[in-house]
Amino acid sequence: MQKSIKRYFALFALPTVLAFTVMFIIPFVLGVYLSFTEFTTVTDAKWVGLSNYLKAFSNKEFLNALWFTVKFTVVSVLTINVFAFLLAMLLTRGKKGTNLFRTIFFMPNLIGGIVLGYIWQLIINGILIKFDVTLTSSANYGFWGLVVLMNWQLIGYMMIIYIAGIQNVSKDVIEAAMIDGSTRFGILRNVTIPLVMPSITICLFLSLSNSFKLFDQNLALTAGAPSKQTSMLALDIYNTFYGSVGWEGVGQAKAVVFFVLVALIALIQLVATRSKEVES
């Protein structure tokens, strides 16, 4: 059977493989190479070794963006997952109307980042104006604005995944624990949470990588203001490429660092999933 299919490579696989090679593999390899060179277009690259990386790590804006992104990611991941888990607990009690609530909580997730950014710009500025400040008066406002926006967007998404996980926990296990005299909190801590661990890992990873790679929302809400203090990594890389001439190599070096960080997060997630999951 394998033999008879094999001849059809050109029909089945070639179009995808061609597009994938031209639009992903070549740009990726070229990107790694260019991070060690100085260039303005792709064809005039001059090898400069590690100098782009040195420049990137001595670049205040990059370090600031890195620190801002880490802080933002930690706070977002914690708040999103706590709220999403609590909501999922409330929505898995088999009450009427839960479907309607689920529908509403999930909806913001479908709206694009640019649109989300401008919606929240209006709301947050509307509140801050009562205190005679705006979103861009201080980096703190931008930070918490992004956290609120991210919560609004992702809570419903994570909630859906938690609901699926909680619904998989068999009622017998919970009943057995109740007969043994466990308290509600005890059941949550010793039965429910260990059994929904796979969902927790998925949600932690999804919210982590979504927060870490945030771009559109950042661009629309504050665009980095005041003075690039609220730029996250993705936005800083974009600005390095397209905001200042002669910095393309540094931009590409920053992008490689960004890629390595994202890959590390994915790797840690993979290891964590394999080790933490409990057989249910």
């Binding site: 059977m1 994938f20 639009m23 740009p27 990726f28 409330l90 694009g112």
Partner: protein, 277 residues
């Protein structure tokens, strides 16, 4: 019994308040879209009154300013064509590399999976340069780019599903005299339908909302909706808040309609994609 009922009503009340809070931002934007542009930023939480209400002027003005219907058409064209191409071609590719086991197909699969963790910023500059050189930096060419960049996740999801299809079904079909092409389209593709819906939903959500890729490749010449919204800010110094509110509403509307009609598929698709990805 009495006690549980009391607790139930507390839960429902809490959920109800939260639901209102979740909907509030969208309703506030909707409300402001009917107000004159100078009455929005300062008092966004006030209902329109006789002085501030201006009917549909923000809508007509905004639509003309950013060419909303053009942008809508561009977004629709790019999304529908790219998703159709991605679903069909990556299903075929996934079937091929799962059924034909060679070193080459194993390596391909590995690179597809690897591409899923690469953030867009890593390749954005080089990818847009390559797109320029190959002249795919237009409304039709971008379909090819989306195929290349979206292949990783889609091939991965399809491959996982193909592995679960018993080989006997296809073998019986081949003995009946079908060639692999007939066998794929008549037997395999219908079986792939559930995962194809998941792949389609995930790609629709990505491509419809995507800002940076079309911005770098096509620019503001043929704007998609996200680019048109951002253009409203960039192109005119201070933002026309009235037009902005109206355009935000028009940008959200198609998504809400799509969601209400395909809610079940969207939620299932997103969960399936998350769990497997």
């Amino acid at each position: 019994m009495q006690k549980t009922r009391g607790r139930d009503s507390v839960v429902v009340t809490v959920l109800f308040i939260l639901a209102v809070l979740f909907l509030a931002p969208i309703l506030i934007v909707l409300m402001n879209s009917f107000k004159g542009k100078f009455f929005i930023s300062d008092t966004p939480f006030k209902l329109p009154d006789a002085q501030t209400f201006i009917g549909l002027k923000n809508y007509t003005g905004g639509v003309a300013k950013i060419g909303f219907f053009n942008a809508f058409g561009n977004s629709l064209f790019i999304t529908v064509c790219s998703v159709a191409v991605i679903v069909l071609l990556t299903a075929m590719t996934a079937w091929y590399i799962t059924r034909v086991k060679t070193k080459f197909t194993k390596m391909l699969y590995f690179i597809f999976v690897f591409s899923m963790i690469v953030p867009f910023q890593m390749v954005m500059f080089t990818m847009s340069k390559v797109a320029n050189i190959l002249h795919v930096d237009n409304l039709v060419g971008i379909i090819f780019i989306y195929l290349g960049f979206g292949a990783g996740l889609s091939v991965f999801l399809f491959s996982g599903f193909v592995k679960s299809i018993p080989l006997e079904i296809e073998e019986a079909d081949l003995i009946d005299g079908c060639n692999p092409v007939q066998s794929f389209f008549k037997v395999v593709l219908p079986i792939l339908k559930p995962i194809a819906i998941t792949v389609a939903i995930l790609n629709v959500m990505w491509i419809w909302n995507d800002y940076l890729l079309p911005m770098l490749v096509i620019g503001t010449e043929h704007r998609t909706i996200p680019i048109a919204i951002q253009y409203l800010k960039g192109g005119y110094g201070s933002i026309d808040m009235g037009a902005m509110m109206a355009m935000l509403v028009l940008a959200i509307l198609p998504i809400v309609i799509f969601y209400l009609f395909c809610q079940k598929y969207i939620i299932e698709g997103v969960v399936a994609g998350a769990v497997k990805g």
